[in-house]
Symmetry: C2
Subunit: 423 residues, 2 copies
């Protein structure tokens, strides 16, 4: 008998799921669809992929506990009211397949426990990196390794913006373009300020590092302070700039994690991703680095991940369960850093800055200054030897008070090819 | 109760498996180990990872049907006698985990059917790309897509040789180096002539394209005819040379497949792999291109793949089964090609070659000739517009008879960024 799907949401992903399912040979049937505005959705171009006998409803409770539903597929997003609906579905003995990263990041452990208690499955391959099978790769292919670090490009919007800025464009202009292409929201904060990426990072940390992290504890730095100048300096350093999400097991079992713009050496795989692509690099004690890359978002790629979860359910396959422990996040990463200043030029600036760094026990690695900028508005860059972020933040706080400093310095972590999981 | 493993083979992979298992928290125990020379293996550096109560034997039948074995892990390789042993294990109701690409490529369908009949699992994530979870990614993460093509760097030895040749070294010298480093066998034929890669390609084709291919039908071209000159010309064309394994669904449901050295544009992900790394790119109708990359061979990465399969068994997870159909291979790919000639220079050579190509209805795209070579031994290169390999082979057969041709021309397919799955 065909597996009966109750679909919550008929937007971009939901309608693409109906399309992908219609062209598949899987024994799967959509019996019910919830959407707030049923009439509008019934005239959606992809409604033709929905069987005539499917029941449409604007009442989600008519889907999550219905007798003719074996698996609830949720592609709406957000915590409330979704959490309650999916709890009800699991309580009623339905499998749940969801693309909801916020829900899994913030409420995953409770939902996973409930699913286990009820003997049903909670699958969420689509919650991270859309069509890139990072979660199946980690769960089924790398469970035998001990993964010590995950680094990723987990937000396609940021990757689009930063890879476009490589050719010299300014942030504000590229953001506008991203918005007009539908890659960025009118309020882009969730993407550019790192909240979306850190939720995904926490979903991965549970599986890869067996660590339950609170997303709110992961420091997220905005990419909106990165400017075209930084790409020019990054290039001189053999690097580019990407929004990187990174979590690593510390020597003593803690997890260090951060999300934000970082300098990435051009020869590292993580610098390869362009446009809206996603990439994840896992580092294992035995298997070394494994790279996953592809389309992280969009209706079709996300629908592929959802459909693959549903297909796995039709095969009667069980679910690999990991034990993850609650672990506090330490955002104080030790690494070399990039510092960019905009100053009003006058004698003694380098001496002042070098003085503050020395007071904070931070060694300068290089000092870069390109010609041709106005002394009234002069950008220059200092790179440091590895130091703790906290050391740097207090140095920067002290520097911001210097009279020649026209704006707060931009601080970015620098990744290095010989980066080690712990230090 | 712990899952009890009977291990066949205590070489590089088998001993690494014991090590990985010893450091894991999985409920898994090695109860029996088969190896021909038990006494020698017991003094192996990694024998310390084997529990004292484990039974060592030089008789495989004492492992494959033993009562205290739940899963047989095979890391020896080859068809005979392994096939019989694993049949016996499956017959006796044991799960089987194997790293044996030849066995799965040539006898996979029979063994898969036998496992299904007996209600046990046959897992072989380690058979392709070692520690890179390509098989789990395809099986659990991309089953919802319709994959139309797989392209891969599936042989680490060839990738080591060809990426080393990028800096100007000749094939014979790099091969020697690879042999001294243990990356290439004394008889390197299985690697450099493409037999290893095409077995892996057929294992992937079954899962990704749902196509049972006979590996012997996949044309395999040796990399041993590639010389330093070809890298110089490839560079001029914005390319490098890699051993590529490629299979794609044709418009009419047939599969076109080939293994051999190909020109790869530097901006394509498949050009990123260096040293002994493996890479696989799947192209899906809905999800687009997905890239997997990492360490394809070696004791630890392969042991991670084996251990992950064993770990999945401990979780009580079932197995996703695909239906694959027997399909004939068509090696006659339509693509642009690179032709490199070594000639004794005289007037009219270009005209003769162009004439033969025209007779065979092949259009020339570019003609490249670097300065500084002796006219007695002159290399030059022609690239063609897309044509069938068969057209080109007959043209080349005609050219080989030309009096100025000092050796048979080298023919390599050229990949293009806008490559489409069918043509």
């Amino acid at each position: 008998m065909a597996l009966r799907v109750g679909l919550l949401g008929f937007g971009t992903v939901g309608s693409s799921f109906a399309e992908v399912l219609a062209t598949s040979e899987a024994e799967v049937r959509i019996t019910r669809i919830f959407n707030r505005d049923v009439e509008r959705k019934k005239s959606h171009a992809k409604a033709k992929f929905v069987p005539a006998e499917t029941i449409w409803t604007s009442d989600a409770t008519e889907v999550v506990t219905a007798d003719d539903v074996d698996v609830v597929v949720e592609v709406i997003g957000g915590l409330d009211p979704i959490e309650g609906w999916l709890q009800a579905a699991l309580q009623a003995g339905k499998h749940v397949v969801t693309a909801n990263k916020q829900l899994i990041a913030y409420r995953g452990s409770e939902l996973i426990a409930l699913a286990a208690e009820k003997g049903v499955q909670l699958r969420y391959n689509a919650a991270v990196a859309g069509g890139v099978p990072v979660i199946p790769g980690i769960v089924s292919g790398l469970s035998g390794d001990r993964i010590t670090r995950i680094s990723g490009i987990l937000n396609g919007t940021c990757n689009f913006i930063l890879s476009a800025m490589e050719s010299g464009a300014e942030y504000a202009d590229v953001l506008k373009k991203a918005q007009s292409l539908g890659y960025a929201e009118a309020n882009p904060s969730a993407d550019v300020d790192g909240f979306d990426a850190r939720a995904k990072l926490c979903v991965l940390a549970r599986l890869a590092l067996r660590a339950e992290l609170n997303p709110d504890e992961v420091p997220a730095q905005t990419i909106s302070s990165v400017s075209a100048i930084d790409f020019a300096y990054a290039k001189e350093l053999g690097c580019t700039v990407r929004q990187i999400s990174r979590a690593e097991r510390d020597g003593d079992g803690a997890v260090r994690a951060r999300v934000g713009p970082m300098l990435v050496p051009k020869e590292m795989p993580i610098a390869w991703s362009h446009d809206t692509q996603n990439m994840v690099v896992t580092s294992g004690l035995f298997g070394g680095d494994v790279v996953f890359s592809g389309h992280g978002a969009g209706g079709h790629p996300t629908a592929v991940a959802v459909m693959s979860d549903v297909f796995t359910l039709t095969s009667g396959s069980g679910q690999v369960r990991f034990v993850a422990a609650k672990i506090e996040v330490n955002g104080d990463v030790r690494a070399p850093h990039y510092l960019r200043f905009i100053v009003k030029d006058k004698p003694g600036i380098v001496a002042s800055i070098a003085g503050v760094l020395a007071e904070h026990d931070i060694n300068i690695d290089a000092l870069l200054q390109h010609r041709g900028h106005s002394p009234e508005n002069l950008p220059f860059v200092v790179t440091t030897e590895p130091c703790l972020r906290s050391q740097l933040e207090s140095a920067v706080a002290a520097m911001t008070r210097l009279d020649f400093m026209l704006e707060p310095p931009l601080v970015m972590q620098m990744l290095t090819s010989d980066d080690h999981p712990t230090d």
